[in-house]
């Protein structure tokens, strides 16, 4: 257990040291998005002001997802693919699965920090157009918890299966589509007229994250029911953690 916390302390030390960079990396994109679509366009009349209500939960989900995935996938891919820095931690007197768990905790933490940054930012920018009614804080926390873990598990799955040279490609082919086809910038029910797409994207955990936050923050927007949201996130967590763990173990031993 001491070893586990020491590993965590190492990652937190490094994260805190790079905090300004981390904040800019995490918050810049959501900030611009919120600024343009939640402030500029509604104020110029090109987008309905109620769009802010659809946007906020989606932006929250997208930022959390991005932070958790980036925070685990990029370092892992580099560690296993090139610099082998993680070897010293693999030699720590602890089971390899605990090293994976530590990575999941760390990814989840980064995802939460992102949520904690982006939510107030978005709220300040769009507050005149927003009407938020938090239905249940308990549900909100359950969702934050599940979304954080799902993002970290996604990151571990990607990080252990992609070579460091392919990171830009991973963004283009996996992460960006996950966000754009993840019901972040539009509610899932808005896709009724493109029903093939509406069905396909149900495999994307982002959909459940965004819809889940809609269901607790802006329930007036039509959303997927909380039962299916939690189910979808749980399935994603179980599958991605399993695949990520297997991938990690496969890379950790030769």
């Amino acid at each position: 257990m001491k070893t586990f916390f020491a590993l965590l302390e190492r990652d937190i030390t490094v994260l805190v040291r790079d905090l300004p960079e981390f904040v800019v990396r995490i918050a810049m994109q959501p900030f611009l998005f919120v600024f343009v679509f939640g402030y500029v366009l509604p104020n110029t009349g090109q987008v309905q002001s109620s769009y802010a209500n659809q946007l906020l939960p989606g932006i929250l989900a997208a930022s959390m997802m991005m932070a958790g995935v980036q925070g685990t996938a990029i370092p892992l891919s580099q560690d296993f693919g090139a610099i082998k820095e993680i070897e010293d931690r693999l030699m720590a007197p602890i089971r390899i699965s605990m090293v994976v768990l530590e990575k999941i905790v760390m990814g989840t933490l980064q995802s939460w920090i992102a949520g904690g940054l982006v939510f107030p930012l978005a709220w300040i920018i769009m507050r005149n157009n927003l009407s938020i009614h938090v239905q249940s804080f308990l549900t909100l926390f359950v969702l934050l918890f599940l979304v954080g873990i799902a993002s970290a598990a996604t990151g571990i799955t990607l990080g252990t299966s992609i070579s460091p040279f392919k990171i830009p490609l991973m963004f283009a082919t996996i992460i960006i589509p996950m966000i754009f086809l993840g019901a972040a910038y539009y509610p899932w029910h808005a896709l009724t007229n493109v029903s093939w797409l509406q069905k396909i994207i149900l495999i994307n955990p982002m959909v459940y994250a965004a819809e889940g936050f809609r269901s607790v923050l802006t329930p007036q927007v039509q959303h997927i029911s909380q039962f299916y949201v939690v189910l979808g996130l749980l399935v994603a967590v179980v599958i991605l953690s399993g695949v990520g763990l297997r991938g990690f173990i496969k890379r950790a031993y030769s």
């Binding site: 001491k2 020491a6 590993l7 490094v14 820095e85 070897e87 030699m91 007197p93 030769s254």
Partner: protein, 319 residues
């Protein structure tokens, strides 16, 4: 004193992750390493040295056979990891941390108490000549500095056995010497060391016991002195003379030499080759003086482990 700390028995590794290619990297090797010694695995690139270390240090999955470290099976990963420390072939220092933090965090992973780890970090940074650079990030460290820092890191949790994989490969001669001194110093303090190298002089100078490895097999294992005795002919002294009378040759044979005195005539000189080592030189000189022979040169040909490798495999170590 003569206790074994590593025992391996028919240890085998077949890499087969790539389904088309099966590499039998280590083929059923067995040996043991005694407590307190510097044990060396000497062999050319691709011999299977890193794979062997990998299996002993939980990084490589064993295909068959078994091994024990201080009585603990190498399959018991967590227990083994507590007993060992590894300095790998490739720099794997934590680039996000300073030199000192690399040591301190490593010790934290092993649960070394705070007072102890700070004190140990001071000591080891000093010993490895890195005291001045302790607060620098390790990104900019030279090969020799990185190597010394990795050794310091390895020692932070006082391992039973220190594994060094090709610790001096790629270092300049000066850094290499420095590292040898550190290895000897550590061993003098009682540290058991398991090292691999493809430099025969390194194995010869440092190790108490050497296993020569090639194509996944251990060919021979013994002390450097005994290993070199296995080379037919052994050490030789070559004399370059103007002329060699039969009397001279006979007088040389009277000396306490184990084998032949062979003669090789050239246009303007004669070369005599005598089996034996430097202890014979004084006697040889007396004979030459007594016979008033013209001498142009004396050369001592010492058998090296390279000679043994060539004798065993027909190849040089570095090809």
């Amino acid at each position: 004193m003569e206790k074994s700390v590593i025992e391996i028995n028919r240890l085998t590794k077949i890499y087969s992750s790539d389904s088309r290619r099966r590499v039998e990297a280590v083929k059923g090797i067995s040996f043991s390493v005694k407590q307190g010694e510097i044990f060396g695995l000497l062999g050319p690139n691709g011999a299977g040295k890193t794979t062997t270390i990998g299996m002993l240090t939980t990084r490589v999955r064993v295909t068959s056979g078994d091994g024990h470290i201080a009585g603990v099976s190498i399959k018991d990963e967590v227990a083994v990891k507590k007993l060992i420390a590894v300095v790998p072939q490739q720099n794997n220092l934590d680039r996000s941390l300073t030199a000192r933090e690399n040591l301190v965090f490593h010790a934290k992973y092993f649960g070394v108490p705070k007072r102890e780890r700070e004190q140990k970090a001071d000591e080891l940074l000093e010993m490895m000549g890195l005291g001045q650079r302790q607060n620098d990030y390790v990104r900019a460290f030279s090969g020799g500095m990185a190597q010394r820092l990795m050794i310091a890191r390895a020692l932070m949790h006082a391992p039973e056995i220190l594994f060094l994989d090709e610790a001096t490969t790629g270092l300049d001669p000066q850094s290499r010497r420095l590292l040898w001194d550190k290895v000897r110093e550590l061993n003098a303090g009682g540290q058991t060391i398991f090292l691999t190298t493809h430099y025969m002089d390194e194995a010869d100078e440092l190790c108490h016991c050497i296993a020569i490895m090639d194509h996944g097999k251990v060919l021979v294992m013994d002390t450097p002195t005994n290993l070199k005795k296995m080379v037919p002919g052994g050490n030789r002294i070559e004399l370059e003379l103007g002329e060699a009378s039969d009397g001279l040759v006979e007088a040389l044979k009277e000396l306490d030499i184990s084998g032949e005195v062979s003669r090789h005539d050239e246009a303007d000189k004669v070369i005599l080759s005598i089996q034996g080592d430097q202890s014979l030189i004084a006697g040889i000189m007396r004979v030459i003086q007594a016979e008033s022979a013209d001498i142009f040169g004396v050369r001592l040909h010492q058998v090296t482990l390279e000679d043994l490798f060539i004798h065993l495999t027909g190849r040089r170590l570095r090809e």
